[in-house]
């Protein structure tokens, strides 16, 4: 256990550019049973200067973060083959490595590269797959994540989710004034970009199913909340609703045509669905309780939400067009903030018991609840689009930071930020893929 922990940590430590990133990752717990894999540093062909990105290092870090793989530390690599003919499978078998990745980054023109890689099955002594991809320097991290996705899918049978994004909110005190930012970063926390800055709170980012837009809550209008929709690439934003009272908890329907949200315009926090084509509102809940945090099941047929109608906040499920709701959480006195896995079979949620708020997964068939995190005030869990990991907000040293855990609870990691309170992470859907 301990050796794997050290191994994974050292994988991260050799990453160049480590300190330039605003968000960095610390692996806090390792995994027993992770599959050993060797990712050989990619050969630099026709280079006049050093590679702008350590592609192999990015791939190794991705695979380590999934909790499914244990990359061999760079200093323990017994050889650095570039071509298939240079690979001596027997040597790698001796090292106990099951899979091997080799590759090269070739400079083809100024700021243009060609990245090749090959994935080998060491035990069988043969190539599993290999690709060649062009990239500009600004795309090298993305290409590295795509390679990680291909490797992950080949070896696990499930699509990888490394070439995806996370959105989150940061608050900072600047000259005694609070500043809130909506940010977007790669799934490993690199390349953070600010989408919006405000002196008033920003909340509850939610991805459109095509990954092109974010909905969120902003208090920029004095004394009033509003839900906005913002296009990520153009930055163009549009106010969707701003009634008196609550305008909160936006959640896109899987077909992208509607948004579920919470309003208190009729006097009480209730869930509505808003048809985006004509802004027609339909109220879905009623009663004196707080009903909020709607999320759509991936098939679009039902909505899970938080309600205190039974006395304490618990999760309920109702048809997407409204109607009879069924309680689905029974353990603990606080269950809220649900997010569906992409297969619709489980939910991740905030589970409160004994004064601690932690991230849990609820299996919907068996009603079995598993607590995955170990914090005291953990919140806002969000599934990776392939269901392999959950990102959430936690606290260390009185600061809000992001953390992730593999869905089986075996692998933990923390994203640390140099300053500010980070919270409300939401993992993007797959973009531009089938």
């Amino acid at each position: 256990m301990k050796t794997i922990w050290i191994t994974l940590l050292s994988v991260c430590l050799y990453l160049p550019g480590w300190l330039q990133a605003a968000l960095t990752i610390e692996i806090t717990q390792g995994v027993e049973g992770a599959v050993p894999i060797a990712v050989v540093p990619f050969h630099a062909a026709n280079h006049h200067q050093p590679q702008p990105q350590d592609v192999a290092g990015i791939i190794a870090a991705d695979l380590a973060r999934s909790g499914r793989f244990a990359p061999v530390p760079e200093q323990n690599l017994i050889a650095r083959p570039v071509e298939t003919s240079q690979v001596r499978f027997q040597d790698w078998r001796t090292l106990g490595v099951e899979n091997l990745v080799i590759g090269s980054v070739e400079t083809v023109a100024d700021n243009e590269y060609r990245i090749q890689f090959r994935l080998f099955d060491v035990l069988r002594g043969r190539q599993i797959t290999g690709y060649s991809m062009p990239a500009k320097s600004g795309q090298l991290r993305y290409v590295a994540h795509r390679i990680s996705d291909i490797i992950y899918e080949q070896l696990t049978g499930e699509p990888g989710a490394f070439a995806t994004h996370i959105a989150y909110v940061i608050s900072e005190s600047k000259n005694g004034k609070k500043e809130y930012q909506l940010q977007l970063a790669d799934s490993d926390g690199y390349n953070p970009k600010t989408l919006l800055t405000s002196q008033q709170p920003l909340m509850s980012p939610s991805w459109s199913p095509d990954g092109r837009q974010l909905a969120y809550v902003s208090f920029e209008k004095k004394g009033r909340a509003a839900i906005f929709v913002q296009a990520i690439h153009t930055g163009k934003r549009q106010e969707l609703v701003s009634f008196e009272g609550i305008n909160g908890a936006p959640s896109w329907s899987p077909d992208g045509r509607s948004m579920a949200l919470t309003l208190s315009r009729d006097g009480n926090p209730e869930i509505y669905s808003l048809r985006l084509s004509d802004k027609k509102l339909k109220r879905l809940t009623s009663g004196a309780a707080i009903d909020t945090e709607p999320v759509w099941s991936p098939d679009g047929k039902s909505i899970v939400f938080t309600s205190d109608r039974g006395g304490s906040p618990q999760l309920y499920r109702m048809p997407a067009q409204g109607g009879r709701a069924q309680r689905i959480t029974f353990e603990g006195n606080y269950n809220a903030s649900a997010d569906f896995s992409s297969d619709g079979k489980s939910l991740t949620l905030v589970h409160g018991e004994g004064g601690r708020y932690q991230i849990a997964v609820l299996d919907l068939d068996s009603s079995l609840l598993r607590v995955l995190s170990e914090g005291r005030l953990d919140e806002s869990p969000s599934f990776a689009p392939n269901g392999s990991m959950i990102i959430y907000a936690t606290e260390t040293g009185h600061r809000g930071v992001l953390a992730a855990v593999s869905s089986d609870g075996r692998f933990h990691q923390q994203f640390s930020l140099r300053e500010g309170n980070v919270r409300e992470p939401v993992w993007s859907p797959f973009v531009g893929r089938k």
Binding site: F219, G245, I246, P269, E293, R376
Partner: protein, 182 residues
């Protein structure tokens, strides 16, 4: 006053008990007798509270809002964990603000609900709104016009006190009255 009330209640119990003893009643009736007497007691107490309250609010003016010696110079009402009920001891305070608003229909107030940091952010928005609406309903009942009040909930987003223990949390579960136009 209190003494007279007690005497009245005691006398009525005696009287009702006497009535029941004359008829062919079962022992279970004693409970009914007690219920009636306690109802009478509450009514009398409520009447008393209203009387003194009206007297207490009549000297409140808009100026009182900025007079540090007046209780209405304070603007914050605190709440219990996961509760949106205005505590007994804060009702007078809400009614005092309501009296000023009712007497000054041009005065407007934003009723801002807040929660502590525990649990989910959107649920805390819901809780903050419920707190603001509890205060709003009390004020409406005291004659404040709907057009004078707006509610907004910031949930846990605008903590009054930064901190991660009950001493901070208890200060953050609150409703703030923000007067918009004097």
């Amino acid at each position: 006053m209190k003494f007279i009330q007690t005497v009245v209640v005691v006398l009525s119990i005696v009287w009702l008990a006497a009535c029941s003893s004359t008829g062919d009643k079962k022992t279970g009736d004693a409970a009914v007798v007690e219920d009636r007497s306690s109802e009478a007691g509450i009514d009398a107490a409520a009447a008393d509270a209203t009387a003194s309250a009206v007297g207490g609010y009549s000297d409140l003016t808009i100026e009182s809002l900025t007079d540090p010696s007046s209780p209405v110079s304070q603007r914050v009402i605190y709440f219990e964990f996961d509760s949106s009920e205005v505590a007994e001891q804060d009702r007078e305070f809400v009614m005092a603000h309501a009296a000023i608003l009712a007497a000054n229909p041009n005065l407007k107030v934003s009723i801002e609900g807040h929660g502590d940091e525990r649990g989910s952010r959107e649920y805390n928005i819901g809780l903050g709104e419920k707190r603001a609406q509890s205060v709003r309903r009390m004020m409406e009942f005291q004659g404040v016009l709907a057009s004078q009040m707006t509610t907004v909930s910031y949930g846990e987003e605008k903590a009054a006190v930064e901190g991660h223990d009950e001493s901070a949390w208890s200060m953050n579960r609150r409703v703030e009255l923000v007067y918009v136009a004097y």
